[in-house]
Structure formats: C-alpha cells, structure tokens
Amino acid sequence: MATNDDATTTNGIRRDIEVHNPPEEVWEVLVDDDERGAWFGGRTRLDPSPGGRGWFEDTDGNRRSANVDEAEPGRRLAWTWWPDPASDGEPDTDHPGGASRVQIDLTPLPGGTRISVTETPLTPMARASALTGARGPLVDLELRLLLTSRQSAVVFART
C-alpha cells in the first residue's frame, strides 16, 4: 500500500510516496514519454539525459518547456521547467515565466521504492550556490534571457 509523506521545505515543496516496484521499473515509468504522459495528466516529451530538452502540457493546454539537469537511471531524474509563453497567448512582460526545478529521487526499500519529489521555484538570476548548496554539488549555470517588446520575457537557468 502506497504511503504519502508530505513536507514543506522552506524553499519549495516535497512529496513522498512508496511503491512495491523496484527502482528500475519506476525509472521506466518516469522516462518513457507515453508512461509519463499517463500519470502526469498531459502530453509530454523528455530526453532523459543531462542537458536533454522536452516539454509538458497540462489539461488546459498550458505548456512548459523543460531542460533535464540530472538523469541517473534508477536513482534521480531532475529537470528545470518554465511556462512556454507561446502557449499562454498573452505577452506578460511584468512577470517573466516562473521557472522551477523538479527533482525526483528513487530510494530502494525492502520490497519496493520510495519516490521523493521536490519542486523549488528559481529566481531568474539563480545562483547555483544559493540553490544547491544544501542539496548537492555545485553545477555550472548558463543563463539565457530572451526579451523583446512584443514577446514575454522568458528567463531560465540551465544548470
């Protein structure tokens, strides 16, 4: 029986769940596009390797672009995602699309796996040390800013 522990970290949210399947099997359901679409609740494509690109759609058709930060088969899948301005329809120069980082950790348990998900909002000028100091090794930050008078400001941090 799956249990659900939730917690609010001061930098974001965290949800845990336990399943009877081994980590390798959970991994398949995370990285396969059709499997992920089924549980995510919308179409999605993702290249499950560091630096891989992808996107997620919700039931309202809102789309988020994604960039994979970490991919350790059977252990961790992490990506940064941000609202795709094109799908929102309205240019919003006041609020650059909010990016956040999703990290899914798989921990083997006797008879199954614990799946832990954290989602942390990112500042547009995110500094790796401020965000990842407590969570893991520093990674290089590549920041790209697209700004025109007619389009939304899209800012994402590629780690």
Binding site: I13, R64, A99, S100
Partner: protein, 123 residues
C-alpha cells in the same frame, strides 16, 4: 520583483524571493519576531538575537526585498512591520504545486501498482 499570485502556468514571480528570504533560519526568526511584536527597530531586534545590529539590518533588507516587511520612519530609527501578502502568495504556490504532485504521484502509484499486479500473476 513583485510578489504575485501563481498564474495558470505556475508563475513563480516573487515566490522564489519569498522562499529564499525565509530559507535562512535567523532571518526567518527575525521575520517571526516582527510579525508577533512589530513594529520593531533593528536596535530592538538586536537585543533579542545573538547577532549584531548590522546583521539584523541586512536581514531586514532581504525581507524587505521579498515584500515581507515594510519600513516607516519614526523618530530617529526606522520601524519595520510585517506584510503577510507575499507569504500568502508563496503559500498558494506551494499548495497548488503540492496538490498537483499529489495527483501525479497517486496516478503514478496506480500505474505502477497495475504493472506490479501483472507481474505477480505471471509468476
């Protein structure tokens, strides 16, 4: 950066600043002190915390950047008061994101459970 309610695309404008401002335990404690006993001065707060008045002032600046405190001049020293609206926006974001992941994880667990059952019946 203004504190904004989360939009349909999960807009985090301001939420990130609020959450990172509150990530530091001392700063969080200072914010709580202002919430409970405000308006407060940096000097008054320095009496309650084992940090210097300068450090308190720096923390208050970070809180002000996140819109969590606002200042007013009163006599010789600046007085600080708490604003809870940014906190509400951050809380709304967290509730919304948390609910979304609750749904996704429940669906994920259900999908995995079906695979698990199939495998067992095949053994």
């Amino acid at each position: 950066m203004s504190a904004a309610a989360p939009g349909p695309g999960g807009d985090t404008g301001g939420v990130d600043t609020v959450l990172s401002a509150l990530a530091d335990p001392t700063r969080r404690a200072i914010f709580e002190a202002v919430v409970h006993a405000g308006p407060a001065t940096a000097t008054g707060l320095a009496r309650e915390f084992p940090v210097s008045r300068q450090a308190i002032a720096k923390h208050l600046e970070r809180l002000a950047d996140a819109g969590l405190v606002r200042s007013s001049k009163s006599g010789r020293e600046t007085r600080w008061q708490a604003s809870v609206e940014p906190l509400s926006a951050a809380r709304s974001w967290m509730d919304e994101m948390g609910a979304a992941w609750d749904r996704r994880l429940a669906a994920l667990a259900e999908r995995l459970d079906r695979r698990d059952g199939t495998e067992r019946s095949n053994q």
